[in-house]
Amino acid sequence: MERIQYAQLDEELFYEKLPNGLEVYILPKKGFNKTYATFTTKYGSIDNQFVPLGQSEYIKVPDGIAHFLEHKLFEKEDGDVFQQFSKQGASANAFTSFTRTAYLFSSTSKVEQNLETLIDFVQDPYFSEKTVEKEKGIIGQEIQMYDDNPDWRLYFGAIENLYHTHPVKIDIAGTIESISNITKDLLYECYHTFYHPSNMLLFIVGPISPENIINMIRDNQSKKPFKDQPEIKRFFEDEPETAAVREKTLPMNVQTPKCLVGIKSPFINQTGEEMLKTELSIQLLLDMLFSQSSKNYQNLYDEGLIDDSFSYDYTQEQSFGFSIIGGDTQDPERLQKEIKQILLKAKSGDNFTDGEFQSAIKKKIGTFLRALNSPEFIANQFTRYKFNEMDLFEVVPTLERLQFEDVKQIVNNFIDENRFTVFQVVPKSK
């Protein structure tokens, strides 16, 4: 087991790659009551075209299947794993994102037992036609819940606008229609392709002894006969650089209009340090342009164009990336014009200064420290970073090394009107 120390942060990370390819990370946290563990596969909603294990042709699977699989993995022949966890005093959960599916628990007692339950249930699928059919009703209600949620429709509507073909434009849960095509055999096919230990990462954080934990995991894994698996072949159609749809408006049962501006990132196929630098640079840019301390925020607020629902973020993965800016507004047309103008001015570096850049870095360092208070943040973000070959604990050193001129260069490449989109949710006219 490798041991990595971060003296400045007073953290220590333990790492081991098991013979079957599983990567295990353990971060002891003294003083905490709870242990939090995530078991994550690098498999999300975008992985919808691939060569199934043992076959040679690409197949395309129904939208929403990764998420459906996540739900179904909790069900076993003898009942539901939620029950097992609560008997052991733990609470369990899972989530599916564009690129990952994570299974997790937190508990303040019986940690090793719960960890064993987590690993075993994820590595032992049980799908039957009957339970697959039953799940369609439950997920159908999950889909309808989101369909009625205007903020959800707004956010995913903006992403959908940005992409021509990339599956990030597809709803993570799919549609009632698409999930009706899911079968037990398809679930097994996805499972066997993507849930091999070599495609997964286990992260445990809490008041634990790394030695005991790793011994338990080694023991557990050595008993399971995993065969080496060839590299997974995923397929993505060609995606043009421009935004697919420049503007779209969705009338809904709301009283207040909502408006988002989306920017499609030109930075794809980055990993590691380069990706970390790009991601942080663009996040710093957005802080300089749109945080509550910025002149722009103050102006937009004073004009009554935004309120405390205003937000922004930037996410980058290997095959896609985007920024989303906006919120509730009385005047979506004016707000989108103002946001676009602020962005276009930033392209030439005209509306932000080195002084603002230094403040933004300080703020980001403090925000990162705060985030380390949260075991959930550490486990989930560490995994996301690792899947992109980045190191979460390199955030502060990378920030400290960033030069204003480099950031200006990245910003200049990032901003381009052809990659902008606008999505609005407006009240239905009576």
Binding site: S106, K136, Q141, S359, L369, R370, N373
Partner: protein
């Protein structure tokens, strides 16, 4: 050994300091809590006040200057919000600041944060007429928006409508963000008058959580937070309305999913001896994924994605919520009623009882892993005028018996069924 929750309490005339020393966080958190009864007359002013306070001080004359100061303090945060805790209306002003021992730059940050918090409370931006008029007008606009926007989030809306219907004639029906129609009656003068009364009359508590030197901290806090003595106003706790029969409210809107929210009176509040049994009751009924509601409404009948219950500890309510296909209303309602009946008949095993207690204890311990969680747990004691240390809390949960849970069930009464559904059918 779980980390125990210990606070050093220090009363300093009109304010009580609560210091919680722990080295598990990389930041230090401050929570200033102002407590007063929830009343129709004051609710809207009260909902506006903290937002005006954080918009500028006589030192940092506008929001962006103040936020700039926070950014340079390594991204210290300042956050205000309001809560209803039973029939109290609580203002919280929270700050969180990096512990400089984790930074290359070791300039102390905590005192600067405390100074700013004090500035926000005692030195808001004023003119001779009271608050800054422009700030008040802008924040009135945002407040109206904050009240209106609930309509757009149907889950929150259904929840709010249930409380409105169920507690019609009680202060508890007043919205946490106040009343839309009352916003325009507020101006920089009457809000300033209200602000002065808040400083004079509210019950005020300051929590500081982190790796702090308590001796030094109390000197700083005494210097920056000086309030006159007062006897805070208390509410009369025994204002339960007895419902004669179930109240059913059906509302139609353009929605795909129906929201079925059901309100029960528990007739038990925090500080009562059977409060712990109520926690267990709720845990068995709808608090967790192993509870009756989740198993029967979701897993067995496939009617819903979420089906849960929660309790309002200080008002004595238990709220059930689920999202269903509109046509499944009758089926979902009858399953929920059956499960309520099953609870009251004691149809749960000793195993389920133990499982639920374990999960509740786990949840409590997990809550103590965040500074906000610690504060909320401790603040229950302020709200209820009681003193239940966390170890006692854990012990009391452990002692709850099946019979205790059944006895609790006898006190719980279904009051109102609220259904938000689509326009057809």
């Amino acid at each position: 050994m779980p980390d125990t929750l210990e606070e050093v309490i220090l009363k300093n005339r009109g304010i009580t300091f609560h210091f919680i020393k722990t080295d598990k966080f990389k930041t230090i958190s401050l929570f200033l809590k102002l407590k007063a009864p929830l009343t129709k007359a004051d609710a809207t002013k009260r909902a506006l006040l903290p937002y005006v306070l954080q918009s500028g001080t006589n030192t940092y004359s506008n929001s962006s200057a103040l936020r700039k100061f926070l950014d340079d303090l390594y991204g210290a945060t300042l956050f205000v919000d309001l809560q209803k805790k039973g029939e109290y209306h609580i203002i919280s002003i929270s700050m969180d600041v990096a512990n400089e021992k984790f930074l290359n730059d070791r300039t102390p940050l905590l005192e600067k944060a405390i100074q700013l918090l004090s500035d926000v409370i005692f030195n808001p931006k004023t003119t001779q007429d009271g608050f800054d008029k422009e700030i008040v007008e802008k924040e009135k606009r945002t407040l109206k928006q904050r009240i209106r926007v609930v309509y757009d989030d149907k889950m929150r809306y259904a929840n709010l409508r249930l409380v409105e219907e169920m507690c019609k004639d009680e202060p508890y029906s007043i919205h946490v963000n106040g009343i839309l129609e009352d916003v325009d009656q507020i101006n920089e003068k009457n809000l300033y008058e209200y602000y002065k009364s808040v400083l004079k009359e509210d019950q005020i508590d300051l929590y500081v959580v982190g790796d702090v030197d308590i001796n030094q901290l109390q000197l700083i806090c005494k210097q920056y937070f000086q309030f006159e003595d007062r006897t805070p106003k208390e509410i009369d706790k025994n204002l339960y309305r007895q419902s004669e029969k179930e109240n059913v409210v059906i509302e139609r809107q353009d929605v795909a999913q129906g929201k079925l929210n059901i309100g029960f009176r528990t007739n038990i509040t925090y500080g009562d001896s059977d409060y712990f049994a109520l926690q267990v009751y709720n845990g068995l009924f709808g608090g967790f994924p192993h509870s009756k509601l989740f198993i029967n409404v979701r897993e067995k009948a496939s009617l819903a994605y979420y089906a849960a219950s929660r309790i309002e500890s200080h008002k004595g309510l238990m709220m059930v919520m689920t999202g269903i296909e509109p046509k499944n209303y009758d089926q979902a309602l009858s399953i929920i009623k059956e499960q309520f009946q099953a609870m009251n008949n004691g149809e749960f095993s000793e195993n389920e009882l133990e499982q639920t207690k374990a999960v509740i204890q786990n949840q409590m311990l997990e809550t103590l892993d965040t500074a906000r969680g610690m504060t909320e747990v401790l603040y229950h004691n302020v709200l209820s005028n009681s003193k239940v240390p966390e170890e006692v809390w854990m012990e009391k949960i452990k002692q709850v018996t099946k019979e205790d849970v059944i006895q609790v069930g006898k006190k719980i009464v279904l009051d109102t069924i609220y259904f938000l559904t689509g326009q057809e059918g």
